[in-house]
Subunit: 322 residues, 2 copies
């Protein structure tokens, strides 16, 4: 494989688990990559990876690095505070030059703000500490999807729909903008200039530690704000890490999915391998995609020129996450 330049920086919470950080760097280097570590990657200020100015400067350095991949060390919380200060033009220019910005969770705020302000695409995908540095080792599918990105082979992904959520009459969607990420972070931008106005898009969502009633409340906000009515499809990833309450009495995640389907016209696909789980595909936020269902399988396919992955050569999508 080709040796790539990967720039590690910390735009959100402080890296507390240094071993995970080191494991992640070591794994990437073992793949033959040149890993450059931002000077403030291990900074800490309160719960943040440095104060606001430090993290803004780190983003600017990542954009100026000329790297093939700018990889966030971790999520957490911190990007919301600095949305007014992100050097959007520099980020868009870096993406145009071929830098793929990759991350998830709190990183959703960065991704949506970049899309809203510049139209440029970034990648929802693994983080250094949470994935490459995972104690159990990085998930094979996640690693393969990341390889696809850096090798330029990735042109899409596929997954098996849960049996009860199969959509036999799904009509293929062509040329839609893919966007989304963490549901809570996405909703926290509603009403602000950093919420992208995407019409006829494909919206994907995941979250962690949110009870189904809170997931429903957020989906209701998106519906009442008119966002869902403007989408061609909603794709639900993994919603994990919440605790059911005795009070729920049959109100569960599937209840929320069924209600959503009863409330909006757009089809709702489930089972997307993305979220706070080891197995996660990479998805271009702001990329133009086709979405299709064939039998029990769903496929998202994108062009080979999205989100800093312009090195890509034509190649069948891999469908790693079947």
């Amino acid at each position: 494989m080709n040796k790539k330049h990967i720039y590690i920086y910390s735009p959100s919470s402080a890296v507390r688990e240094k071993p995970a950080f080191r494991r992640g760097v070591a794994w990437l280097r073992a793949q033959g990559h040149e890993v450059e570590i931002d000077e403030a990657a291990l900074s800490a200020h309160q719960r943040f990876a440095g104060d606001d100015a430090t993290r803004i400067a780190a983003i600017a350095r990542a954009a100026a690095s000329g790297a093939d991949v700018a990889l966030a060390s971790r999520g957490g919380y911190g990007l919301t505070r600095i949305l007014d200060g992100i050097p959007y033009k520099a980020v868009a220019k870096a993406i145009d030059r071929g830098t793929a910005f990759v991350g998830m969770s709190d990183f959703t705020a960065f991704q949506l703000a970049v899309l809203a302000r510049t139209g440029a695409a970034t990648w929802s995908g693994p983080t250094l500490c949470g994935d490459f540095g995972a104690e159990a080792g990085i998930d094979e599918i996640t690693a393969a999807c990341f390889d696809d990105l850096v090798e330029g082979y990735g042109e899409g992904t596929g997954w098996r729909l849960p049996a009860r959520d199969e959509l036999p009459s799904f009509k293929p969607i062509r040329g839609a903008t893919l966007w989304g990420g963490n549901l809570a972070v996405l909703c926290s931008l509603l009403g602000t200039p950093y919420f992208p106005q995407v019409d006829k898009g494909v919206l994907f969502l995941e979250d962690v530690g949110e009870h189904p009633y809170r997931i429903e409340r957020m989906l209701e906000q998106l519906r009442l704000a008119g966002v869902l009515a403007r989408q061609k499809a909603v794709v639900l990833g993994q919603f994990t890490g919440y605790r059911a309450a005795p009070h729920d009495r049959g109100f569960k995640l599937q209840t929320v999915v069924e209600r959503l389907r009863s409330q909006i016209k757009a089809p709702v696909l489930t089972g997307l391998p993305f979220g706070h789980v080891p197995t996660k595909v990479l998805l271009p936020v702001g990329g133009t995609v086709d979405l299709a269902v064939e039998g029990k399988e769903a496929f998202v396919v994108w062009g080979h020129d999205v989100g800093g992955s312009r090195h890509a050569a034509p190649h069948d999508h891999h469908g790693h996450a079947h």
Copy 2:
């Protein structure tokens, strides 16, 4: 005291603690009030006090009851789902006839939607189960504030500012719209038609079970959406029931307050006795108020014709919550 007609209904979560419900009803009856219980007050469907249609019908019956006070049995979650179905005109007419709608927490969704759609004022205050039916008995100040409302004596409230948050140079605010409630519920309406567009208002906020980083993220959303810049003052009530993390390293609620003050021009008052705590004052959401600081004390004063409390006679504000 005068015997009043109090209508109990359940617009949100199901009442699971029947003893609290009974204690609350008994307490109100012991005060001499006529307590009418909605036919669906103890209904249950999943985690809700009946399905959506049942709860919408309960609100309609409360509005048609002609009661002096329509008191929500409890909060929880459920109003967001039925915002499109609330009979707003009937509610506004009831308020105009003198019914005071009282509640909190999830009830904030009802209050803000009524304000956005009709301009009518409702009351942030106790719930039947959480306050009147509390196992320890109702808080004396909460009971006195409620008496003020039903007797028509209440024209304001006052509280002592925390020493570190005193605002000696605070300029009195006159004739501003008071609004707010539960921060998470309020933010969950941003971007929707149920979020009231209040200019030059006094915004009060409380929450429970939200870590300071989430409180900050929500305040940032209000700031980035331009809501805070349009307010004359922000008044913070009680933020309780969250767990600090080792990861916080000095990031705490006071950090959030200080940052808020650094980010907006409007003064930020703290210590308002309102929230998920026993001692809570009643506040008219949508009422026109004056806000003043005298020494260590803050005062909110409203007219005697707000939010169904039109029986009120001129009377000094009580300042119960000093």
